[in-house]
Symmetry: C2
Subunit: 370 residues, 2 copies
């Protein structure tokens, strides 16, 4: 039955003829490196230096068994209940997904694709323009101020939607809740998405506003403050009418994006308030100390409400410092674009010991004549 | 700072004004019910009656720990290597995703969206037209023959892609590999996707053909023959040029769709060949026995190469039998549409004991005067 092997494999240079027009036009997102080497001080992808809640670990351990042969709950009701309870909202106001990236993806397609352009900052999470490319969303970037801040007045123009992280990435700068409310008061006809991946490290959540502003959607992840980057869980909170739109897209794409471990582990993590608060406090304390030490070394550090800091040094390029740290087995993240942020390094707040290693390495680098 | 609560929540009847045009046009997929009651004989979603490989369970147990704070490998290299090894292909020929539904979703957008219509059977996995709705894929359905079979000649017409499950769902009918090869020989300019969710229960995989036909993509899931529906892992195998297209879409949507449990558990499951073969054999043996018993009760059962059967009874409607089984705590699946399959029930092959319960219940139902 087998035909003689043809040599399509090797000679075929135009496999892209099978690609859709969408694929031809994509510029995929490049996530921070996940190096496979051990013994690195890994301060490049904003993971929590502390492990997940012991109660979450226990809940995941309990999922190991024969019931893995069965599909998970497609609606993840137990997890939605835990999230609703934590935030004081109703389960119908909660949407869950495979990491906040999946939640964001569905949000771009379901709620941010309109005739008028979507607005987001020129310096922000670099996945936003990628989603726009994937779904053909028309967008316009709005420059941050000279001090790298979001000014809500700049968004008070006709738009098909607004999205920004708060605190912003990769700057770490926080927009006060009062500013968000000022924006919501005048922007009633398009969805405003506040991406709060880092809010637990120093900000006040806009979830407090969802009952009063039906156009507000707030997105969270369990990858940062809940120490569960390895589990892939994120969620959105908003008016049930917005949640319905996300659910319609999810149910047209993948019925069961959260596996049994994700549902059980994330629910237990949401329920363990004291562990969560304690680890957040520790990260915030280390951040303060780290900022002080970097400033003492001559770094200019943007005010951070996140579990990372964004720092530059007048005498050294960001790329150069990043490379020299890497030689010393310390990985931080550097963004070449846009040019305005090229001088900076984005440094995740690790344990005190990891930050000590970083500071020691930077001292060494700065002491070495160029 | 808080404004007086407005009553948008209750009075707002037009939240759909925030929805994109795409959302307005969607008809989401409805998965089989995942009832939360215990003590049901659950034969409705084609789960494996046997648990996952003990080695897979061990591998998942080993993931419970502090390393869950770290992102998983975005490329899932360890899992790709295990899949490549099992199938005798190269890792560059493997794409992995969050269940085969996510893999299918990316495939529709990346490889099946072209000017000419995508072709698939009129009776098939009912998620296919849903993906077309989500991504605006132009499609045309091709009727099965009178005996519910796919005839490859019917697909030898101009098209932008072809997709069908093999064995087909919900019929369970198998298309011989020689027929698939005949189709590939004449259909060189568009992608042919063979969705092999159920192939391990009685068919020969088209993976054997991927090195000779660069337009062939074969999709598998670990939810059926690997007993891991609760873990959410699926994969595609094909020419690296097709895999690249899927990877570009994935990296424009969600960098890390597989969590640490999914990568470790799925890799271990792929490696445990003997457990896999043993459980498949048991399901196939139970299927033969079940088919014989149903035929003895007067059922007409389509020839099945899957872990489910599709059966009708001349004297009873599918909906009626499904409802009467449900009264007896046995859940099977019934499809109202298209009308041609409304007489049937789709029954998952469970354990011998579960199938005994089903047969006993059907005897009771058939013995009761209507």
């Amino acid at each position: 039955m087998l035909a003689p092997p043809n040599i399509a494999w090797k000679k075929n240079k135009s496999m892209s003829r099978f690609w859709s027009a969408v694929v031809h036009g994509l510029t995929p997102y490049v996530p921070g490196e996940q190096p496979k080497l051990a013994n690195l001080v890994k301060l490049n992808t904003n993971e929590n230096p502390y492990g997940p809640s012991p109660k979450a670990l226990e809940a995941m351990r309990a999922e190991v068994g024969d019931s893995l042969r069965l599909y998970p709950d497609p609606n993840a009701d137990r997890l939605k209940a835990a999230i609703a309870e934590y935030h004081g909202v109703k389960p119908a106001q909660v949407f869950v997904g495979n990491g906040s990236d999946e939640v964001l993806g569905h949000t771009f397609l379901a709620l941010l694709k309109h005739e008028k352009p979507l607005l987001f900052p020129d310096i922000t999470y670099s996945f936003y323009p990628v989603y726009c490319g994937l779904y053909g969303v028309n967008y316009k970037t709005v420059p941050l101020t000279k001090s790298f801040e979001i000014r809500v007045e700049d968004y008070m123009v006709p738009n098909g939607g607004i999205i920004f992280p708060n605190p912003n990435a990769p700057t770490g700068c926080l927009l006060p809740l009062a500013d968000i409310e000022r924006l919501l008061e005048v922007n009633a006809d398009s969805v405003v998405v506040v991406d709060e991946a880092y809010i637990d490290f120093g900000g006040e959540s806009a979830v407090a506003l969802v009952d009063r502003y039906p156009q507000l959607l707030v997105i969270h992840t369990l990858s940062k403050s809940r120490s569960l980057a390895g589990l892939r869980v994120g969620y959105a909170i908003g008016h049930p009418g917005l949640i319905d739109a996300l659910t319609r897209v999810k149910d047209s794409f993948n019925s069961y994006p959260l596996d049994r471990f994700a549902i059980a582990g994330a629910a237990a993590a949401m329920e363990d308030r004291s562990y969560f608060e304690e680890t957040c406090r520790k990260v915030v304390a280390t951040r303060s100390r780290l900022v002080g030490e970097l400033e003492a070394l001559g770094f200019d550090v943007l005010p951070s409400a996140a579990n990372f800091i964004f720092a530059r040094h007048a005498g050294h390029e960001g790329a150069e410092l990043t490379a020299k740290l890497r030689e010393r087995s310390i990985i931080v993240r550097h963004f070449r674009n846009p040019a305005r942020i090229a001088p900076f390094m984005r440094i995740t707040v690790g344990t005190d010991a990891e930050c000590d290693s970083l500071v020691a390495a930077l001292k060494e680098v700065l002491a070495t004549p160029v």
